[in-house]
Symmetry: C3
Subunit: 199 residues, 3 copies
């Protein structure tokens, strides 16, 4: 797997693992439950993508770095929760960065496995929203990604840009920057200005 | 994949995608959440079946038609919800048709992949109930398929008929008609007469 | 698959299927819902493990014995619930035995598929807690395994012992006995003395 993909994947994992751990702490799970939820939120999207494209065993299983990064995020959140909480606003930003990383990495990995372009964009979205969905289901809420302001749509837009850049034979780095930028910008504007889709 | 299987699979996907979209609208998800739930309800059963029998990437990922059909069902439901709601009774019928399609397609695809007969019947049932289970879990309810009148049992009966017909070397078309008929009839009678299993 | 693995796997399946069936009865599902939840609780951990390590179709799908054992457990629980309930305390013990079986079998199967040691231990844990997680999510609760006294940790400790024994080239039987013993003992002491992790 190219270095770019690994960096994006691990970065997204770290960010989402923190979001999982924060939800776990808020639901008063013990330290181990926090670690499990950190792993689930950080890796469920990527694992699902890998199973669906036939990349078995999934990167998050074959490579200990993913669980290492998740455990780090989980422990940091557990022991410094008051600190983490205070910067909750930043976490929304942070989460938008993770979303952008995952949407890009998901789309690129699907393309690399020969998935057709439309589905590669959808898999990029799934990689972005899968972890958050499992996180919320495990604490028995309706996934916020299904309600939040332009959340899944931002991921899809970013992934679609990556796929389009690929079809135009642009460099993967350019594709990643453009797709990630679009995803982050959309999500950022949605948070800032309360942009929402009709319900 | 033979044409019969594709027609059954896409038909079931459309019907279940509508059921997913209706649940999403009722829970006030935005238009994108509606699309995600439509896709989940329409495809989770088939995707799970394909992962379990080793048909990777699953049809719903390899072929854009499945997400196309799901998106169509989701948008139709979102924009014409009042209409869809009025015909809610018909939807129960409709859903029974989808269940029959999926139970048959699931069992036939499992047989085609060399899964043993007993498990092929169970996989037909899983294909039929998987989408509805994910749909309900995502909006954090107990899956109605686990409670509803003869729901899973109708799917299993239909799938078992398909498997038996296969063992008797009957034509797949005959097997599909017989199995689908049994599944639909059982479910229809259960709705009509309130047949239930003991609790 | 070696006999030891099959025995452990089927034993764990039986025990967890009972726990799934008990939860289903308590939520007033019909007999079929009880069977589905018995199967889910008894097999979700092992199926997830098999999908993740690329052992497709998973043992629980390829081999009818797993669903047979699950159905047996489900029916027994459904028809003799008052009896089963009275021995609820024993069930906690019983469940600890199932956890030990699954943690050991999960780690050994992952090692046999060439998964690296750290991840094999985590997969052993996942095999142990996966079924209980799905069981609780399906009746829309927060998985008790994420809160219960040293539950996931006991599974991880047992799996880690198995992996360590493997690295030391000890006999699989010895590894299984040691790992299973550690898992059971930890869980038993946690129940008995209310040991918990910090929250």
């Amino acid at each position: 797997m190219p270095v770019l993909l690994i960096v994006l994947d691990l970065g997204g994992t770290f960010v989402f693992a923190i979001s999982g751990a924060m939800v776990a702490v808020r639901h008063r799970l013990d330290v181990f439950g926090v670690l499990v939820l950190a792993f689930a939120a950080g890796n469920a999207g990527g694992i699902t993508r890998d199973l669906l494209i036939g990349a078995v065993p999934p990167a998050a299983i074959a490579d200990w770095k993913y669980s290492g990064v998740s455990a780090l995020a989980g422990l940091a959140t557990f022991f410094w929760y008051p600190v983490t909480k205070k910067v909750a606003n930043d976490v929304l930003w942070f989460d938008a960065v993770g979303l952008a990383f995952f949407a890009v990495a998901g789309a690129q990995k699907a393309l690399a496995h020969g998935i057709d372009p439309t589905m590669a964009a959808l898999l990029g979205m799934l990689t972005g929203i899968g972890g958050g969905m499992l996180r919320d289901v495990l604490v028995s809420g309706i996934p916020t990604v299904l309600r939040a302001d332009l959340y899944a749509l931002a991921a899809l837009a970013g992934a679609a840009v990556v796929v389009s850049a690929h079809l135009l034979h642009l460099h993967p780095m350019v594709a990643a920057a453009a797709g990630g930028g679009v995803c982050f910008a959309l999500r950022f504007m949605a948070i800032r200005h309360g942009w929402r889709l009709p319900t």
